[in-house]
C-alpha cells in the first residue's frame, strides 16, 4: 500500500461514517487514527451524543466483527472473557469446554466501563495490551485488528469505580465527546426522525485495515522530533525542568506509553496528510488526546479543578521544538 492509497481509503472511510454520524469530525478522525495506530480509545461524554452509534458505524464501514459489553457493577470477569462450561457428548461423557466471551471480537464497545468493579475492569488489561486472553490456563489470541472503545460518563459519578491508572494507560487516546453545535443538532434531528435511517456500507476490508496499520509504522521520524516527544513527556512530570503547571498541579506525569501513543498516532496523521514523515504539527495536534488521561493530579490540582488539557497545553507551550531554542 502506498501513502496515496492510504489517504484514499482513509478519506473513503471518513466520508462513509459521516453519512451516519453528524459533526464530530475531529473526534471521528482521532478514532480512526487510534484504530490505525493499533490503540484503544476511551470516550468520555454525556449520554446521547452518539458514542455507541459511532462505534457501530465504524464496525459496519470496516466489515469487522463488532461486540458490545454494557458494564454494570455486578458484571464479572468471566462475563467478558468467557468461561468453561460442562458439556456432554453423545456417549454421555462430560467435559469442560471454553465458552468465549464478548471480548473475542474485533471492535469492542465497553459501554460505561467505569460502572464495573476494578476486578472486572482489569479483565480487559491483557486483551488490550497483548491481544490475548488467558482462561483456565489456556491462552487464546484475539483476531487482528482488535480495537476497544470504552465510554464513560463524566457527570454521574455515584456508584462508579474510577478506572485505575494501569487501565487508563492502556488507552491510546482519551477523547472527549462534546455537545454538538446547533446546525449539527438540526442535522441529527433531521436524519434520525425520518423513516429511512442512513446506514454505512463496507468501504474497507480487514486486510486493507491491517495494511494501513503496517504502513503507518513505516513512517519516518527524525531524531529531533523524537527528542521533542521525549521532552514533552518529561515535562509532564513534577521535577525540575517540568512545565510550570505540571510542577504545581501534577503528582505523576505521563508514562512512556504516552510517548509511544504520540509517535504512533502522529505517524497515522502524517499519512493522512500525504506525508511520509512526522512533523511537530502532528505531535502537537495529538498531544492532548494522547496524554490527558495519563496525568495524575495532586491535591492542589484536584482542589483547583485543573483540567489536564490545560496542563498539556502548558507543557507544549513551554517545550521548545528544538532543544536549546527559546519559545
Amino acid at each position: 500500500m502506498t501513502p496515496e492509497e492510504f489517504a484514499k481509503v482513509f478519506d473513503r472511510l471518513r466520508r462513509e461514517i459521516q453519512k451516519v454520524i453528524v459533526g464530530h469530525q475531529e473526534l471521528l478522525d482521532q478514532v480512526l487514527v487510534a484504530l490505525l495506530a493499533g490503540g484503544h480509545v476511551l470516550l468520555e461524554g454525556v449520554p446521547g451524543l452518539g458514542k455507541t452509534l459511532l462505534v457501530k458505524t465504524l464496525a459496519q464501514a470496516l466489515d469487522l466483527r463488532y461486540g458490545r459489553i454494557q458494564f454494570t457493577p455486578d458484571l464479572m470477569p468471566a462475563d467478558i472473557i468467557g468461561t468453561n462450561v460442562v458439556m456432554q457428548d453423545a456417549t454421555g461423557r462430560r467435559y469442560f469446554q471454553f465458552e468465549r466471551g464478548p471480548v473475542f471480537t474485533q471492535i469492542l464497545l465497553a459501554d460505561e466501563i467505569n460502572r464495573a468493579t476494578p476486578k472486572t475492569q482489569s479483565a480487559l488489561l491483557e486483551a488490550m495490551q497483548e491481544h490475548t486472553v488467558t482462561a483456565a490456563g489456556a491462552a487464546f489470541t484475539l483476531e487482528e485488528p482488535f480495537f476497544v472503545m470504552a465510554t464513560q460518563n463524566p457527570i454521574e459519578m455515584e456508584g462508579t469505580y474510577p478506572l485505575p491508572e494501569a487501565q487508563l494507560d492502556r488507552f491510546l487516546f482519551k477523547l472527549k465527546v462534546e455537545f454538538p453545535q446547533v446546525p449539527d443538532l438540526m442535522e441529527i434531528i433531521d436524519r434520525t426522525t425520518r423513516p429511512d435511517m442512513p446506514q454505512a456500507t463496507v468501504v474497507a476490508s480487514r486486510d486493507e485495515v491491517l495494511q494501513m496499520m503496517r504502513l503507518a509504522r513505516e513512517v519516518e521520524v527524525a531524531t529531533h522530533v523524537r527528542a521533542f516527544v521525549a521532552r514533552v513527556v518529561e515535562a509532564t512530570h513534577p521535577r525540575p525542568g517540568a512545565s510550570t503547571m505540571a510542577r504545581r498541579y501534577v503528582r505523576y506525569g505521563s508514562s512512556p506509553r504516552g510517548a509511544q501513543a504520540m509517535i504512533l498516532s502522529a505517524k497515522v496523521r502524517a499519512l493522512m496528510a500525504g506525508r511520509a514523515n512526522v512533523s511537530f504539527g502532528d505531535l502537537q495536534a495529538l498531544a492532548a488526546p494522547s496524554l490527558r488521561h495519563r496525568l495524575v493530579m495532586n491535591f492542589e490540582g484536584e482542589a483547583e479543578g485543573i483540567d489536564s488539557d490545560a496542563i498539556v497545553a502548558n507543557v507544549l507551550e513551554e517545550t521548545p521544538e528544538l532543544e536549546g531554542a527559546k519559545r
Binding site: E220, A222, R251, R275, A276, N277, V278, F299, A303
Partner: protein, 515 residues
C-alpha cells in the same frame, strides 16, 4: 544518466548551511563590533569620574573593525552551521513540516531504512527545489549593526564635545586639577629659564624653553586625560634627555682621557672654567701694555693656570696656553695674545655648553617632577608645592616657641625614656606631677558576700493571678519541613469528595496564611 535521489537535496542543504554560517558570522562580527564600541563608550563615560584615558574615535573605530573581522572569521571557522541544523532551519522557515530534516537524517544515517525513506527524500527534494534556498536563508544586515552605528555616533559626540569634562569632586577632576597645576608650574619654570637664556649664553636651552612653555600652556588649556598628558610630558622628557646626552658628549670630547673618569661636580667645573675665563681676560688686558713686567707676570700666571688644571682643562686650551707661554718667552706679545684669545674663546664655548647642560638638567628635573605628580595624582614628595602644603598644615606657633629647624635634628625622635615620668624621654622623676586623676581616686565597693551554704528548710510560695496581655517573649519558630512534607503527602494521597473540596481548600489557605 540517472541522478541519485537526494543528491540535489544535499547540495541545496549544503548551500543553505554556507549561507547560514555566513549570516551567523556577520551577526557575531556585528555583535563583537557593538560590544567593542559599547566598551569604548563606557570607558569615555567613566573618564568623567575616574582618571582613565578615553579612546580616540579613530582608534575605537579601528579596534571595532578588527573585532568585527576577527569575531566573524572565528565564528565562521569554529562554529559552521551543520547540515542537520540548516535542514531544520529550512523546515521552520519554509514550513516544510520536518520534511527536509527527516530526509537529511535518512540520507546520512547508516541504519536500516523503511519502505517510505526514499519517498521522504524525493518529497523533500521536490519541495525544496521548488522554493529555493535563497528565499529561506536571506542574508540580512543584523540589527546590531545599527547599534554599532549609534554607539559610534555617541562616541564621536563624546570625543568632540565632551572630551576632558569631569565631575567636580571625583578622582578624574582631581587628576585634571593636578595636570592643570603642573602645566602652570612648567610654564612658570619655562619663563624663568627663558629669562636666564637671555643673560647666559645657552643656545640649546633657549631652543628648548619655548617647548616647555608650550607644553605647560597646553596642559592648562587643553582638557587632557592623564595618559595623554603623561605621553606629552614623556615626549618632551625624552627630547631633553637626548639634547643633554649630546651636550654631555660634546663636553667630554675635548677633555683629557683620565678626566672622564674623575668624579667632578659639574658646578665646580663650571666655576673653574668661569674663573679661568676671567683670568685670561685680565691677562689679555695686561698684555695690552707690552711691558717686561707684565710679560713676566703673565708667564707666571699662565704657569699657575696650566699647572693644577690637568683634569679640568680641555687639551686644546692647554696647548694654546703652552703656545702663549712660548710666545711670551720669545717676546712675541702679539702671538701670545692671539693664543690666549683662542684659549679664552674655547673656554667660553665650554662654559656655554656647561650652562646648557645645567639648564637642561633643571628642565629635566622639573619635567620629571610633573610626570610623577600627574602619574601619582598629586604633588610629589620634595616638590615645592608639597613642602608648602606640609608647612601650611602645621598649626601656627607662638613667638618664642619656634621649633628647631629640621636641619638641627627635628626629624629624628628623641630617645625613649623609662616611661615613668610625665614627659617621656626626659628621664626618671621620683614624684608624679600634678593631682591624682578622678579615675584613680575611686574607691572599691564590695558587692558580694562570701560564705558557705548550710542545710535547712527552703520556703517557697506560688502566687496565682491573672495574666497580662502582652507580646510573647518566645520567638516564633518555623514548623519542621519534614512535618509539612508529611502533611502535604497525606493531603495529596487522600481523595477528597468533590463537595468538600472547597471547604478543605479554604481551610488550607487559612492555614497557609498563618504559616
Amino acid at each position: 544518466m540517472t541522478i541519485e535521489p537526494g543528491r540535489d537535496l544535499l547540495r541545496l542543504v549544503r548551500q543553505a548551511a554556507v549561507r547560514l554560517t555566513a549570516s551567523r558570522a556577520v551577526e557575531t562580527g556585528a555583535s563583537a563590533g557593538a560590544l567593542a564600541m559599547g566598551a569604548f563608550v563606557l570607558l569615555n563615560i567613566a573618564g568623567v569620574a575616574i582618571p582613565v584615558s578615553g579612546v580616540p574615535l579613530m582608534h575605537a573605530i579601528a579596534a571595532a573593525a578588527v573585532a568585527v573581522v576577527l569575531a566573524g572569521v572565528l565564528a565562521a571557522l569554529l562554529r559552521p552551521v551543520p547540515r542537520s541544523d540548516s535542514a531544520r532551519v529550512l523546515d521552520a522557515t519554509l514550513r516544510l513540516e520536518e520534511r527536509v530534516s527527516t530526509a537529511i537524517e535518512v540520507l546520512t544515517s547508516s541504519g536500516p531504512r523503511s519502505s517510505l525513506s526514499s519517498r521522504v527524500v524525493v518529497d523533500a527534494e521536490r519541495r525544496l527545489s521548488a522554493v529555493g534556498v535563497a528565499a529561506a536563508t536571506p542574508l540580512r544586515i543584523p540589527r546590531t549593526v545599527w547599534w554599532t552605528a549609534a554607539l559610534t555616533a555617541l562616541l564621536f559626540v563624546m570625543t568632540s564635545w565632551l572630551h576632558g569634562i569631569t565631575i567636580p569632586g571625583t578622582p578624574a577632576h582631581r587628576t585634571a586639577e593636578v595636570i592643570r597645576k603642573e602645566g602652570q608650574r612648567l610654564e612658570q619654570f619655562a619663563r624663568t629659564l627663558q629669562s636666564r637664556t637671555r643673560t647666559d649664553h645657552m643656545p640649546a636651552t633657549r631652543h628648548l624653553a619655548p617647548q616647555i612653555r608650550d607644553l605647560g600652556s597646553r596642559l592648562q588649556r587643553e582638557r587632557l586625560a592623564r595618559a595623554e598628558a603623561l605621553a606629552r610630558v614623556e615626549e618632551l622628557s625624552q627630547q631633553l634627555a637626548q639634547t643633554r646626552r649630546e651636550i654631555d658628549d660634546r663636553l667630554q670630547a675635548p677633555m683629557p682621557a683620565p678626566s672622564r673618569e674623575r668624579v667632578t661636580s659639574d658646578q665646580l667645573r663650571r666655576q673653574s672654567t668661569q674663573r679661568q675665563i676671567r683670568q685670561l681676560r685680565e691677562l689679555l688686558s695686561r698684555l695690552q701694555h707690552d711691558s717686561p713686567s707684565a710679560s713676566r707676570d703673565a708667564l707666571d700666571q699662565l704657569h699657575q693656570m696650566t699647572a693644577g688644571q690637568e683634569g679640568t682643562q680641555p687639551a686644546r686650551v692647554r696647548e694654546q696656553l703652552q703656545r702663549a707661554r712660548e710666545q711670551l718667552r720669545r717676546g712675541n706679545m702679539v702671538g701670545a695674545r692671539d693664543a690666549i684669545s683662542d684659549a679664552m674663546l674655547d673656554l667660553q664655548r665650554l662654559e656655554s655648553l656647561m650652562a646648557d647642560s645645567e639648564g637642561i638638567q633643571n628642565a629635566q628635573q622639573e619635567v620629571e617632577r610633573s610626570q610623577a605628580a600627574i602619574a601619582g595624582g598629586g604633588p610629589v614628595e620634595g616638590q615645592p608645592e608639597a613642602r608648602e602644603t606640609d608647612q601650611t598644615s602645621q598649626s601656627p606657633v607662638a613667638p618664642g616657641e619656634q621649633r628647631p629647624s629640621p636641619s638641627q635634628g627635628e626629624g629624628t625622635e628623641p630617645p625613649q625614656g623609662p616611661n615613668e615620668g610625665s614627659t617621656p624621654g626626659t628621664g626618671r622623676r621620683d614624684e608624679k606631677i600634678g593631682a591624682r586623676t578622678p579615675r584613680l581616686d575611686t574607691t572599691k565597693t564590695p558587692q558580694r558576700v562570701r560564705g558557705a551554704q548550710a542545710d535547712g528548710p527552703v520556703a517557697s510560695s506560688e502566687i496565682v493571678g491573672t495574666g497580662r496581655s502582652s507580646s510573647s517573649r518566645v520567638q516564633a519558630a518555623d514548623i519542621s519541613p519534614a512535618v509539612i512534607a508529611r502533611a502535604d503527602q497525606a493531603m495529596t494521597r487522600s481523595r477528597t469528595p468533590a463537595r468538600y473540596r472547597d471547604i478543605v481548600r479554604r481551610y488550607f489557605r487559612r492555614l497557609a496564611k498563618l504559616r
